[in-house]
Symmetry: C2
Subunit: 192 residues, 2 copies
DNA sequence: AAAGTCAATGAGTTTGGAGTCAGTGAAATG
DNA sequence: CATTTCACTGACTCCAAACTCATTGACTTT
């Protein structure tokens, strides 16, 4: 049985993580603990009651983000989908997290090392599922003879390129706007 | 006729820009003016004699970088090349600037607005040349019916993906290591 | 060659964000 | 009920980085 205090503490912790997610999504990871405290509606010092350092806060946030997104992804593999539906589902998941994910991929190199592990983990989960779907199609000889990692990297490369170069394209959600076009043409690329 | 002073001043300016290029390539754009001053072997204040702000220094550096790389690219279009040689030449140019270019693409979103214009400029020059080469091939009906911008974005997407995820692959030059593989497979993707 | 200019210096100032800590009051404990 | 614990507070310290400026002495001008 949890005491009131424990419940309160966990609630505050969640408040901070939620605020950090919002602030980082909007401002990027150079946003300050002050901004996070303001959004979370807690005092500045409270952040350091829950997280010893900013880096630790970021790592905890990313770990939560990683499990959340991976859970989404795992739900996909249970169904026996076509390549089209898989790619569409992948983009749909990313749309839910678009602003944050965009910051993550574009600032990953300036984040602490542990953050990179979380990121690699997300990528390998996607890779795993894409693999399964592609293998089925390959058996039917509709996919070109191209190494799996190139197939995977060109998909993520394309998506990430659109995300990081957002400003070249549109103000709103790049993924929303270009989803169909991206899927259609990507499939044209990898099919015979 | 330039006076000794002018010559000296230009030399120092170049010294600072060269140092900034080195430092940013090695450390990323969060490197400090102190580091740059040390590498340039000038005092800290000297940097601000030549550039009013760090942002201005970065913009000047990127403008120089932009013209330099665009000049390289223009030399390409003069020759009547095949797609393979064009792509190889593009990668070879990027190899010359790999460390710096890598930082640029991965940190572009945290750089001042003017920096982005320079970056867009570089991309459009590449786009222009790739366009020419592809159009020739398209006339010969060897390229798939895919919009030009997708062809372009999937090439840059792939290259940039390898560059920004450097750490996933190798310690040295990703481009050097994967050049042939990338070109070969990318061509497989876009050809019928 | 005297007077004036200015590139370069480096110690000093300013700014802003990360992290600290003594204090407070509500919750837990006995 | 009295005592102890502890989540939370916010003013404070510390630090690092950008930017300033009085000073210097070599170069330029007259």
């Amino acid at each position: 049985m949890k005491t009131k205090r424990q419940i309160q503490k966990e609630a505050t912790r969640k408040l901070i993580l939620d605020a950090a997610y919002q602030v980082y999504a909007n401002e990027g990871f150079s946003a300050t603990t002050n901004q996070i405290a303001k959004v979370a509606n807690v005092s500045h010092g409270t952040i350091f009651v829950h997280f010893p350092t900013v880096d630790n806060l970021i790592i905890c946030l990313l770990e939560r983000f990683g499990s959340e997104i991976n859970e989404h992804l795992h739900l996909l593999s249970e169904k026996d989908e076509s390549l089209e539906t898989f790619l569409a589902a992948h983009i749909n998941i990313l749309i839910c997290y678009e602003d944050f994910y965009k910051r993550l991929i574009s600032e990953i190199n300036s984040l602490p090392q542990e953050a990179k592990y979380v990121f690699i983990n997300i990528q390998s989960v996607v890779s795993l599922h894409l693999n399964q779907v592609i293998e089925r199609d390959k058996e039917q000889k509709v996919i070109k003879e191209i190494p799996m990692h190139i197939i995977f990297n060109s998909w993520l490369g394309l998506i990430h390129y659109y995300l990081t170069n957002n400003y070249l394209f549109a103000a709103g959600s790049v993924l929303m706007d270009h989803k169909d076009e991206l899927i259609l043409n990507y499939i044209k690329l990898i099919r015979k």
